[in-house]
Amino acid sequence: MNIIVVGLSHKTAPVEVREKVAFSPNLIEKPLRDLIALDEIVEGVVVSTCNRVEIYATTRDIAGGISRIKRFLADHHRISLESLEQHLYSYHSESAIRHVFRVASSLDSLVVGEPQILGQIKTAYGYAAEYKSSGIILNRFLHKAFSVAKRVRTETKIASSAVSVAFAAVELAKKILGDLSGKTVMLIGAGEMCELAAKHFLNSGASGVMVANRTFSRAERLADEFAGEAVRFEDLFDHLHRADIVLSSTGAPHTIIGPKDVEAVVRRRKYKPMFFIDIAVPRDIDAKVNDVESAYLFTVDDLQEIIQANLAQRNLEASKAEEIIEQEIGQFFRWLSSLESTPTIVALRSKFDEIRRAELDKTLSGWKDLPPEAEKRLEALTVAIINKLLHTPTAVLKQSGQGGRTDLYTDALRQLFDLQTSHQDDGELELEEE
């Protein structure tokens, strides 16, 4: 069984493409079911954030599985595979494990070290577990990814300087609004990223928070948390002029704030500058808002350049993190291979033992005056022969994981000795971790 990854991220696709292939968390059940219903795919997890859409899956046929998932992504979002394919990357086996470990450890993030991605993958895995689209391998794989991410965070300083999209947003706001003291923040929607950004703004001196949400009770709850003010979603434009900083991350399928709205709001503010950050994918705020006088709109992509400066320091920590990940890949890949080889080894052993027992019984049954001592010795002798014979093949098979030849050997053994193995059932019993 092989682990494969197919996806796209901020590194390969602009926001225009990412928003087209994003999966809404509320509607994730059907795609998950469709995914594992595919012939080539055994298990599947869908991770969809504003910076990446990735599918983790297991398959027996690497090439077939990857191309099937690519087609699945295109079909599901009703876009042509030709236009999508240029933005997609895919990994399998060891490189897939490395990729997911790196993503979970936030080494592949827009802001290296930002902590949100781990939570997002956990949520994605939660859905997969709930709808049973993940099985033994992906369960184990993602739990491993979480523990690797935790190790990276505790053993390196990668996340300690709190550089994040939220932090970059604050820096940018200061370039427009100057001192942030006395400034008011409006939160539209209730994404985790938005809340985090709002906290950063408050820490940097912003004094008031307004929260607008389609579910008013959620707005109220969040407003309470910030000692702010809840605003009804319908009344958004009656309050927007009071906000200097607008953070939007609703799950709306189309834009909710357009240039005309902002023109009116800005006029009401006597052209005091307004800073908009649109974290949502698909976007909440029309790109033309940026053309309105005194309105400055930034998307998550725009924050990337601001962030570049902080990367130098982080790269140093990142190289330490990569080392940790390499160690962990080795361990996990050995487990994955053993998952493949263990049932074969067990089957091989039992086959040999079966033959040994049958032959021994045949011999003993026709040998009347044998002393019990000799019977024991014969038993021990046959066991020793089997053990000696199986020692080298077992060792080779257990180590074959690193070279990636497990499939070749197990297939050969199954055919040569006519072994019957039930892969899935045996696997769980044999989980071992160093």
Partner: protein
């Protein structure tokens, strides 16, 4: 000869400061800005000495011909710059102001300097009040011009998402808008008083308070109206940022035309 030494020292120091400030635009080396500031501060001291020396020598403020006036203009610009640079800690302002100061003093050095004694019509206190106020207001408007230009550049970066080295060095839009506004509130009353004191002086010389054939008076009035509109717009309908910056730049161009291009009908 002494006058010349200080004057050429000033010229050299302003030149050095301008080179350093312009280099600072492209290279992010904080030490460049530090040295640029030291050079311009030293230049200012030399300039001040040169001006005082000339005043003592002639017994009057050295603003009686274009050579002297441009030099004095340069002095007030640099003085205002040093004040605002220290108050707001905006080193990059020097990259925009020092070339203007340098240009003014180069133009000054290119013009003939005949120290002549003033004709009796200029021996009025109103003339000195008028001239001094005008120069300080010009300096304030020059700073407004520089911060407005910086504002437009920074706004361009923000709108087009160019986050380069210059973006990092330029201060926040708010800071530049604030400096522009401060300078406007200093420059505008001074310009108003300069025009009024100028009218009184004109009356004293027998030309009447207002002479519609005096192009300098008329252009001064145009300048005044532009800045009055800007101030009014800011206080009432919230003209700020981009609009204010554009109008400030227009105001400054008209001001330069008034200052350099227009001769008084009163000849002396």
């Amino acid at each position: 000869m002494m006058i010349r030494i200080f004057f050429y020292c000033t010229l050299a120091l302003y030149g050095g400061a301008t080179v350093a400030y312009l280099a600072y635009l492209f290279k992010t080396t904080p030490v460049l800005a530090t040295w640029a500031h030291r050079l311009i501060a030293a230049g200012f001291v030399a300039h001040l000495l040169s001006t005082i020396h000339l005043s003592v020598l002639t017994g009057q403020l050295p603003i009686t011909n274009m050579h002297q006036s441009l030099s004095f203009f340069s002095l007030t610009i640099v003085g205002a710059f040093i004040y605002f640079e220290r108050t707001y800690k905006v080193a990059i302002l020097g990259s925009f102001v020092s070339p203007l100061a340098l240009l003014a003093i180069i133009a000054s050095s290119a013009l003939p300097d005949e120290i002549k004694h003033l004709s009796p019509i200029l021996r009025s206190n109103w003339f000195w009040i008028h001239a001094l106020m005008a120069f300080v207001s010009y300096a304030a408007f020059t700073i407004t011009f520089a911060t407005s230009a910086m504002y437009l550049i920074q706004e361009h970066f923000l709108k087009k998402k160019h986050f380069g080295a210059l973006f990092r060095k330029l201060p926040s839009l708010d800071t530049m808008d604030d400096i522009s506004y401060r300078c406007l509130t200093i420059g505008f009353p001074l310009l108003t008083m300069a025009i009024i004191s100028g009218a009184i002086w004109s009356e004293q010389t027998g030309g009447g308070y207002w002479n519609w054939s005096d192009r300098k008076q008329i252009w001064s009035l145009i300048t005044w109206f532009i800045y009055a509109a800007l101030l009014h717009g800011r206080l009432t309908t919230g003209w700020r940022g981009r609009r204010a910056a554009l109008l400030s730049i227009l105001g400054f161009i008209v001001l330069l035309i008034t200052f350099i291009g227009m001769k008084h009908s009163i000849s002396w």
